[in-house]
Symmetry: C2
Subunit: 352 residues, 2 copies
Amino acid sequence: MRTVTWDPEIPSVRMIDQRLLPEELVLIELWSPQEVADAIRQMAVRGAPAIGATAAYGLALAGQLSRAHNAQELWHDLEIAADILRKARPTAVNLSWALDRLLKKAHTAIEEGPQAMRQMLIEEAQRLADEDIEINRRMGQHGASLINDGDTVIHHCNTGALATVDFGTALGVIRTAHEQGKQIHVLVDETRPRLQGARLTAWELDQYGISYEIITDNAAGYFLSRGQVAAVFVGADRVAANGDIANKIGTYMLALAAQDTDVPFYSVVPTSTIDLSISSGEEIPVEERDPTEVLDLKLKGKPIAPKGSHARNPAFDITPNRLVTAFVTEVGVLRPPYREAIARAMKETQTK
Amino acid sequence: MRTVTWDPEIPSVRMIDQRLLPEELVLIELWSPQEVADAIRQMAVRGAPAIGATAAYGLALAGQLSRAHNAQELWHDLEIAADILRKARPTAVNLSWALDRLLKKAHTAIEEGPQAMRQMLIEEAQRLADEDIEINRRMGQHGASLINDGDTVIHHCNTGALATVDFGTALGVIRTAHEQGKQIHVLVDETRPRLQGARLTAWELDQYGISYEIITDNAAGYFLSRGQVAAVFVGADRVAANGDIANKIGTYMLALAAQDTDVPFYSVVPTSTIDLSISSGEEIPVEERDPTEVLDLKLKGKPIAPKGSHARNPAFDITPNRLVTAFVTEVGVLRPPYREAIARAMKETQTK
């Protein structure tokens, strides 16, 4: 089951509402680019590759809804819609990458007129979604060799089928190793504040029959220091040209603990998550979200903080490249020095 | 208001039930050493110094309840009660330290008979509780010089009045700096799984009028890396002779982030938390608690994990001495090399 799909009948974008998992598996239909942008902002869908595919469908939807009679008018409407979608979340680069890819494609059809452009947008969004799954499978193959039979690994946030169109990035690597018959145990970082680990990754691992235990994010360092962990796997929301990564808040401290205990730390990313226009992590914008996401939690039916408390809620942090043992991409495993390895990998994807 | 007091009328031990804060401030009365041990185990009271004082009162209560007619019989009953109390929680050394101190005192009165022993236990428990406050005040004075006007500091778990008999250790240092007129802003680690930061530290800071914001434990590294934090303050549950510390789970990763960003990391501990019988942190027993503490949380009324999920719940981790910038104790600020500095400090307290 895909996280996000195109419904040609209505037309609309259909997706799993990830805010209701693991309690309920509910599908929602989005009827306009604005609704798609809202769903991304409110995290009905999250995960860099899933956001990219969703935005692509959102732009295809803009094409369908536009009443433009000629290519110029349609182009204008698409630019407005792309702008709305682009602003939904600032950190994950896949969103912009997907929109740019669709806009570029539509632009090639300007001579052919609005109907050709509309059709091209739908086809390109579908192609992008299909490719996402294929790319995840390839990353899984490249990365599975990093996991041995009997390994316990730590995983942060959710990077599974739900974070992508299907299959997953870091969790895709774990799935592939499991499919190869390796016994794997996953220590699942619960991943505060939104608890994507406890809610979504645990739910996925349940489906796949992979052994796991949930831990608080605080406990990762303890298990690493006890020599009980073979590797740490995370995804990324944006990778700079030098290999610095923006990823879910807490990744930086997890990477520090992995390094301090000599445990390899792997970031599994499609090349669409690499942003060559950004030289280092410091330049990546970090989204600070609504503080209620931190405070909106109950312990035995009681609020976790005094009434009127304030909170801060940065959604991502920057992990410097020196803490990353390797990147797993669809074109292979990249090792330091990263500026060179990343440049080579990006070149390879463009010549394909 | 003291966290734990002796009620001579009943007799009983009276304490704040910290599990109900910040919603309700409820006092509970404990009528037997077994009830005291249960309250410690279930964390109605927590924090190394508070546990120590509570156990001391628990042993004084055992003296009152014992029907022994002679000193030998009473001594036997006290040993049984001390054993029950000692096993309530394994990591914080103050528990054993307080029991040993009371037993030693009672032993000096064996010649005088059971009534003298009973009286001595109550007096010694009271003295220990009074001293705790005085020691915290002294630590506050020593440590406040480490905080400058305008500083933002990160604080993990709860180390305030609630973690002690009154005033606090790490939070006591912050309070003292505040009382000196310094403007301080505290980033309060929520401290999963039991959320002592969000629930208790935020509640205390509210009372003291100290500015604060709650953050997820994951976010500490972000704020440290942005150069927004002047220092990190924590307590400790046990300090080994070499300066390795056992403290609330998450402390190790927080200390790594402080070191990686060149921010000083201070542990504020009474010398009663130092255990010279333990050479290094590896020897400190780490309590693993009930996994439901991790899973028993609700987000918008929904469980945070799939039904049937398992969890792991280590309550403490070990922070190696190399990550500790200094210890603040009642006899002064200790700096590396710690084995020597700690030995000197312990000698000083014994000659006083």
